[in-house]
């Protein structure tokens, strides 16, 4: 792929001068007594691929439907391109949406579905035709243009829905669980296709998903939500490596959580006493407590090294017994029982053949990691 700049350099959210395309300002949405969105403020920038991630009922869909104009905020303001969207109905917004059910019009052909929005703008006929032609080529459906939605497969329907919502060249495209109805294999292929199309068209994408892997794959930034609250907004790497709370750490990927009393060591590192008679753990803590406080230490299983001998080069090493082994093909996950009853998972890549691996059930082993591998969380 021919990118003008590496993806890492694209970070308008770090540029104080950059103007956001979308700006939620203290937005609250209530349905009767139920608070779906609780005082949320976010800025989303042009050309971003922004993911709203959370379990069902966390308010992510409501947040997106407010951008589309299908819900109005109870309090707060939503600006798109600096303009207050309060009284702008859906059909007057330069925003298009791809619906979870795709919402393809069953009585219209693929072609007419894609042309639907362009015809509402009363464009000249030849322009409409050229644009639809371009769109069916973009999503590789030129052969199916004359078919009705029920005559094509689920994956093709998904692409029609995408083409239809992109046809009007919106400033902003909203995608509501766009891949939810596809099976796993197809979903993975389509994720890359989505990223490719986003890059080609330069449209800002806001995607709603409950699938953390999907969000990690496609998004430039992820907003993790829970019960109407915004928990963390950051790039996928930072969400994974430095979650700001136990909730985020637990929601994204697999994690080991060890509770204990944390206190600062003086050099910026934090010491965590987690069990009687065990050496304390040393780790980094972004919001280091000044005094001793109850905290949780979080570490990803792939950052834990498992070995028969006690390693000498690592600060943190604890002993345990292998309780269970899950062989996943490329990886193996070991569940290790510590002396105080805590279970810790360690993951290793299976880059040796089966016969060469030495660890087995009931083995006494050492788990170890460096000072920077895990993180102490106070929430």
């Amino acid at each position: 792929m021919n990118q003008p700049a590496p993806t890492a350099a694209f970070a308008p959210w770090e540029d104080a001068k950059a103007k956001p395309l979308i700006s939620f300002q203290n937005v609250t949405k209530k349905f009767g007594d139920f608070t779906a969105i609780d005082n949320i403020s976010i800025d989303i920038y042009e050309r971003e691929f922004f993911a709203l991630l959370g379990p069902s009922g966390c308010g992510k869909t409501t947040l997106m439907r407010m951008l589309g104009g299908f819900e109005t905020p109870t309090m707060g303001k939503i600006l798109i391109d600096g303009q207050d969207m309060a009284n702008v109905p859906p059909n007057k917004r330069a925003v298009n949406m791809m619906f979870q059910s795709y919402a393809l019009f069953p009585h219209l052909s693929v072609w007419d579905n894609i042309a639907f929005g362009l015809r509402r703008d009363k464009l000249p006929k030849d322009q409409i035709e050229a644009r639809v032609e371009e769109m069916v080529k973009l999503v590789r459906l030129d052969k199916f243009a004359r078919r009705k939605p029920h005559q094509i497969s689920g994956g093709q329907r998904q692409r029609v829905a995408l083409a239809r919502s992109l046809a009007k060249a919106p400033k902003l495209l909203l995608l509501d669980e766009p891949l939810g109805a596809l099976d796993k294999k197809l979903r993975q292929d389509t994720q890359f296709e989505l990223m490719d199309i986003q890059e080609k068209t330069g449209t800002t994408f806001v995607i709603v998903t409950h699938d953390q892997e999907e969000a990690m794959t496609v998004a430039s930034r992820i907003a993790v939500m829970d019960e109407g609250l915004l928990i963390q907004v950051d790039t996928p790497a930072r969400i994974y490596e430095t979650p700001n709370s136990v909730y985020v750490a637990d929601f994204i990927g697999d994690v080991n959580l060890i509770e204990g009393n944390a206190s600062p060591r003086g050099d910026g590192k934090t010491i965590l006493h987690w069990a009687e008679g065990q050496p304390p753990l040393v780790a980094e803590c972004p919001h280091a407590p000044d005094v001793e406080a109850r905290c949780t230490f979080a570490i990803r299983p792939e950052k834990v090294t498992i070995s028969k001998e006690k390693p000498t080069d690592r600060t943190n090493a604890i002993q345990g017994k292998i309780e269970d082994i899950a062989y996943l093909g490329n990886l193996s996950t070991y569940s290790v029982l510590l002396a105080n009853g805590t279970r810790v998972k360690a993951q290793t890549a299976n880059n040796r053949r089966l016969s060469r691996r030495e660890l087995t059930w009931e083995d006494d082993v050492w788990l170890s990691w460096t000072e920077t591998a895990g993180i102490v969380l106070d929430k």
Binding site: S101, A103, H107, R120, S153, G155, S165, D183
Partner: protein, 270 residues
């Protein structure tokens, strides 16, 4: 354990015989030569001939048809609007009263509906005639239409309408271009139901009809009150056959469409 026992087979056979034998007997005796309807005196189609000569029946049939088409069309428009209001209208003042007025006519005895409408027409000084029958029929059949259409609207994916709005439609355009074409089958069956109810109605029509606007059911009723007559047998046969041909062909067309759709869906595959 879903299988037909001898008990099931017997009850199905007897049950459908009970449902259909009376009509079959009626049809057979309409070809009876004799005026004495219960004695078979050989095959004849002369009662059909006499029926076609009977100007009073033909006039009544025409009145019935005019009333039926007019009232079912009004009922379909009003009923579809009412269904849309019920399913998508949100909250408005008097919503409970409105839905009550939609459902109440479905269970109302016809004598009461007929009586009350007649008293209304008299008190506002509207002369009884075709117009009053059309008004009466449109009123009770719009409720049936709205039940049929709203059950379709309930299962209608709301995001289709939202997608239309999202792509630049006004609310009315979204209804005209997306909702209406999709619910069209329900609207059409609502119209057919309203038409059938109107063609069939005796009680309400006999309250609100004037002397110059006798409908076919009124005509049939006044002549069968005196006993069985061969012309009525012939007329019934014609009506039964029209309905049977209509219903069976409609269901065959639907069945073919469903089959074709299933085939296409299978071929589309993933």
């Amino acid at each position: 354990m879903r299988r037909l026992t001898w008990f099931n087979t017997t009850s199905l056979t007897l049950g459908f015989a009970f449902l259909y034998l009376p009509m079959v007997i009626l049809i057979i005796y309409s070809f009876n030569e004799s005026r004495l309807v219960t004695v078979w005196a050989g095959f004849s189609t002369k009662w059909y001939g006499e029926l076609l000569q009977n100007q009073a029946f033909l006039d009544a049939a025409l009145v019935t048809l005019k009333v039926g088409v007019a009232s079912s069309t009004i009922a379909t428009v009003l009923g579809t609007m009412a269904a849309y209001v019920l399913v998508r209208g949100g909250r408005f003042f008097g919503r409970t009263l409105f839905s009550g007025m939609i459902y109440a006519p479905l269970v109302m005895p016809e004598v009461i509906t007929g009586l009350s409408l007649l008293l209304l027409f008299i008190s506002i000084g509207l002369d009884r005639g075709m117009i009053t029958i059309v008004l009466a029929h449109a009123t009770f059949s719009m409720c049936y239409v709205s039940v049929v259409v709203s059950s379709r609207l309930v299962s209608f994916d709301k995001s289709l309408e939202e997608a239309a709005l999202d792509l630049g439609c006004s609310a009315f355009e979204a209804f005209r271009l997306v909702t209406l074409p999709i619910i069209a089958p329900a609207v059409i069956s609502g119209w057919l139901l309203a038409l059938t109810l109107s063609l069939d109605d005796l009680v309400i029509a006999s309250f609100v009809a004037g002397p110059s606007s006798t409908t076919l059911p009124i005509k049939i009723f006044s002549s069968v009150r005196l006993g069985v007559s061969p012309e009525i047998n012939a007329l019934s046969t014609i009506l039964i056959l029209i309905v049977a041909v209509g219903t069976i062909s409609a269901s065959l067309v639907t069945k073919r469409a469903v089959k074709r759709r299933q085939m296409e869906e299978k071929m589309a595959g993933d």
